[in-house]
């Protein structure tokens, strides 16, 4: 029984794919299972991974958000600029806090519009994201900030630990912000599994009318997921700065699509109601393994976009087709029921 359940789980399949892919990369390049590569991989997951955790909630609630990269961008510039102007010297923590709050406000806007207008949130957030972009470029006049405020610059060089690969002499270090990633997954995992709010998010994603009748505050839940996503967006904006050491307006270009793809690869149903936080993490891992190893795999650069597309489609198609096949089958065995009863 347990074994059968495992086979039913999407996480199981992604894990298999991840292991197979890792082995392929290892065989081709001999570079996958090296300490520095693994640290690099985790490191490159920090920002997309955090965003995916937030988006996972939004998707489970039956909504979609494409504005979070722009939220991150806006917060990144707003806070960095402001801190530069006032020549801020205090703890770096405040930068994350302020960015988180600004992100929350932007997310709140999305949430309120979503709860009020009851239109597809793809369209709503497409609208707000161009507004956020307009504000960042127009009002904040942002494009590049290369000299960071001191506390943030300090964080760029603060690492949790470093590894050096004895064979190649290549090293890699783990930024402190990996802790954010871990924290956010723990928080999201806890909310989704052990709080009524989290169950409400699943419930709303499954059937919003039923959720309302059961006594869930559906509007609140909608607003919550977007606000939470906004806060994560803001925090990731600053995280990105403290990983990269600079702000650039196109840091998050195309993230909305990549991260949606990662969450869906991770087994969340884009229509809402199902998905797991572990699956989401695995989805991001897989996504990053694909995009960061194309060169190691020997894919010519001008075909890399093509290959990423193929891999996303292949992954998504597999789980989609599984459910199409499942729909064609009859769930409970009527004939067998009979035999049981007769027996």
């Amino acid at each position: 029984m347990k074994g059968r359940n495992l086979l039913k789980k999407n996480e199981f399949y992604i894990t298999v794919i991840i292991i197979v892919l890792a082995c392929i990369i290892q065989v081709i390049s001999g570079q996958f299972f090296t300490s520095n590569n693994l640290v690099d991989l985790l490191r490159s997951m920090i920002v997309p991974g955090m965003m995916a955790a937030g988006l996972f909630m939004v998707i489970v609630s039956g909504n979609i958000d494409v504005s979070f990269p722009y939220t991150a961008m806006l917060c990144m510039f707003a806070v960095t600029k402001w801190f530069s102007v006032i020549d801020y010297q205090g703890p770096v923590f405040l930068a994350f806090l302020i960015a988180g709050v600004i992100g929350m406000v932007l997310g709140l806007l999305n949430g309120v519009l979503a709860a009020w207008l009851k239109l597809p949130t793809l369209i709503i957030t497409l609208g707000t994201c161009t507004i956020f972009l307009g504000i960042t470029q127009g009002v904040l006049q942002s494009s590049v900030i290369s000299v960071l405020p001191v506390p943030m610059a300090k964080m760029v060089t603060t690492n949790l630990f470093s590894v050096v690969n004895g064979e190649t002499g290549l090293g890699s270090s783990m930024p402190v912000s990996i802790l954010f990633l871990v924290a956010i997954y723990l928080i999201v995992g806890f909310i989704m599994k052990y709080t009524m709010l989290g169950r409400g998010i699943y419930a709303v994603g499954g059937d919003p009318v039923a959720a309302e009748r059961a006594g869930f505050n559906v509007s609140f839940i909608r607003i919550f997921v977007f606000t939470f996503m906004g806060a994560i967006g803001g925090i990731t904006g600053i995280t990105q700065v403290t990983v990269s050491g600079m702000c650039q307006i196109n840091f998050f270009d195309g993230y909305e699509m990549t991260i949606i793809a990662a969450v869906v690869l991770g087994g969340a149903n884009i229509a809402g109601g199902s998905g797991s936080v572990i699956g989401t993490f695995l989805g991001v891992l897989l996504m990053k393994m694909i995009s960061n190893n194309l060169i190691l795999l020997g894919i010519p650069t001008n075909w890399s976009k093509f290959m990423t597309g193929i891999l996303i489609i292949a992954g998504v198609s597999m789980s989609a087709y599984k459910s199409v096949l499942a729909k064609r089958r009859i769930a409970s065995n009527i004939l067998e029921n009979g035999h049981k009863e007769e027996a």
Partner: protein, 503 residues
């Protein structure tokens, strides 16, 4: 027994121009089983939604245990001990059985965190209470409609409820399950819990109700004790006219010629060795318990599943039906079980809903759709079937359940089918509309020589309208009968498998 639990006074509710409720009253006493009756669209669901706090009334007040409220919020209503099982059950298909049952309880207790152990024990307790067994960890979306209904009931009896409202709880249940439900309701009554029960089925009302209230067109018609009334009076109260139905005994059935013949048909996990034939002018009934494979059989005949073994013949020639298009090509039509999700296009006009199946045949020589002809055809079906509407261009949602069902029927008749398969054609349809639909089916068989396959678990529907009846059980046909040799009781026994537990 005489203490009043809930009293709704002079409740009114308007939707745009429509008056759904016009100063109606409803009184429910402690421990009473109260039946709310009326035709489709008379305002029953609306009143329920007002009591549950889902709608705000435009006028009137609600008194609960002596305290008067202008309006109730959802939370207030739940807090007072009012639990509603909605017509569509309001169940979460993506969650497990245990969670679906326990979730209201957790919410009611203002839990912030989920204790998975208590969720399971609460769910188990609730299921035990009504004496059913279901896998607690199963995802509800994969269960049958009846199981979902039972889950909704199990959920409602938690929380020390004082009043349980059931909006047509039996429409998806088999007789056996109905008995089980009634047992539960009576037990609740013993515990002092009142039940407000909405149903279109008269026999059920007589069986279970102490009191009843009838609405017509949003107005109160009568409220009385169930003992003081009989069948005929009831029908009259509800419809304002007298309706009677006699058994269907067609005269001219061409027994040599079978329009549809099925031989040893089988579908993996669904059914096996199904064989029967339908002659022109015949209405063949198929009945059995829910989950006995009836719907799967119907869907297979219509190409929604493709049979894994056996043969289907139309007019003596074997045909392969792999898709609904194949079925339509062979002049088979299917009125599905779930009107809202499988039958109707809710955002579209009545007219578009009527012409959708026939659209390919409306094409002119220039390959364009002749919408004018479609309009005329639709008008004629509106007339023939007696569909009550203002304009064909109105949205389909503006129609009541019965009229919506007539639209679905009209849509299929427009394709000039020779085999008409109906799956629960009058579920949730009021008496008058039901009568109209039955009468029309008979005309189709007798006058148009259609072969009709009627799948239903409404015993009297099958008995009155089908000249032959197949009993299906666990995916196999167990017996075949002629209607004249059966009575309701006998048929009931056959369906439930002879030995029926006494309620």
């Amino acid at each position: 027994m005489s203490e009043i639990l809930l009293q709704a006074k002079q409740i009114s509710k308007h939707f745009g121009g429509v008056t759904a409720l016009d100063k109606v009253d409803l009184t429910i006493k402690k421990g009473e089983i109260h039946c709310l009756m009326g035709e489709n669209g008379c305002g029953k669901s609306t009143l329920i939604k007002i009591i549950s706090g889902f709608y705000r009334p435009d006028g009137g007040s609600i008194t609960f245990e002596g305290k008067e409220y202008e309006r109730l919020s959802i939370a207030e209503s739940i807090g007072l001990g009012i639990q509603v099982i909605y017509q569509d059950m309001s169940i979460f298909p993506n969650l497990t059985v245990a969670e679906n049952i326990a979730i209201n309880n957790e919410l009611y207790n203002h839990r912030k965190l989920v204790n998975w152990k208590s969720v399971k024990s609460i769910a188990k307790e609730a299921l035990d209470h009504i004496g059913i067994e279901l896998p607690l960890q199963a995802v509800v979306g994969e269960l049958s409609v009846a199981d979902k209904q039972l889950i909704a009931i199990a959920r409602a009896i938690l929380n020390n409820s004082k009043l349980i409202i059931m909006d047509e709880p039996t429409s998806a249940l088999t007789r056996k399950e109905v008995d089980k439900l009634f047992k539960v309701i009576r037990q609740l009554q013993k515990e002092g819990i009142s039940t407000l029960f909405v149903s279109h089925k008269l026999d059920e009302v007589f069986e279970i109700a102490d009191q009843f209230t009838v609405f017509r067109n949003g107005k109160l018609v009568v409220a009385d004790s169930a003992k003081n009334i009989n069948d005929e009076q009831f029908v009259y109260y509800m419809t304002g006219r007298k309706l009677e139905e006699a058994a269907f005994t067609p005269e001219k059935i061409d027994h040599d010629r079978a329009i549809l013949k099925v031989e040893n048909l089988g579908l993996t996990n669904g059914f096996e060795k199904i064989s029967f034939e339908i002659h022109p002018g015949e209405i063949l009934g198929i009945t059995g318990l829910l989950g006995s494979g009836r719907t799967e059989l119907a869907k297979t005949l219509f190409g929604l599943y493709s049979a894994t073994e056996g043969h289907i013949y139309i007019d003596g020639t074997e045909v392969r039906i792999k898709t609904p298009m194949d079925a339509i090509r062979h002049k088979i039509a299917y009125v599905p079980e779930d009107r809202l999700t499988e039958g109707l296009f809710l955002t579209q006009s009545i007219e578009n809903n009527m012409i959708v199946s026939n659209i390919d045949r409306l094409r002119t020589a220039k390959k364009m759709v002749d919408y004018e002809k479609g309009h005329q055809d639709s008008l004629s079906w509106v007339k023939n079937l007696g569909i009550k509407l203002n304009e064909l261009s109105d949205g389909i949602q503006t129609l009541s359940g019965g009229n919506q069902q007539k639209v679905v029927l009209g849509k299929w008749l427009e394709t000039e089918p020779r085999v008409l398969i109906l799956n629960g054609p009058t579920v949730g349809v009021d008496i008058a509309a039901k009568f109209d639909i039955h009468a029309y089916l008979r005309t189709l068989a007798e006058k148009m020589n259609l072969a009709i396959l009627l799948i239903s678990d409404d015993i009297s529907e099958v008995l009155n309208n089908c000249n032959r009846i197949l009993i299906i059980k666990n995916g196999r046909i167990v017996s075949e009968h002629v209607n004249t040799e059966l009575d309701p009781h006998k048929l009931q026994e056959l369906v439930t498998g002879g030995k029926e537990e006494t309620a």
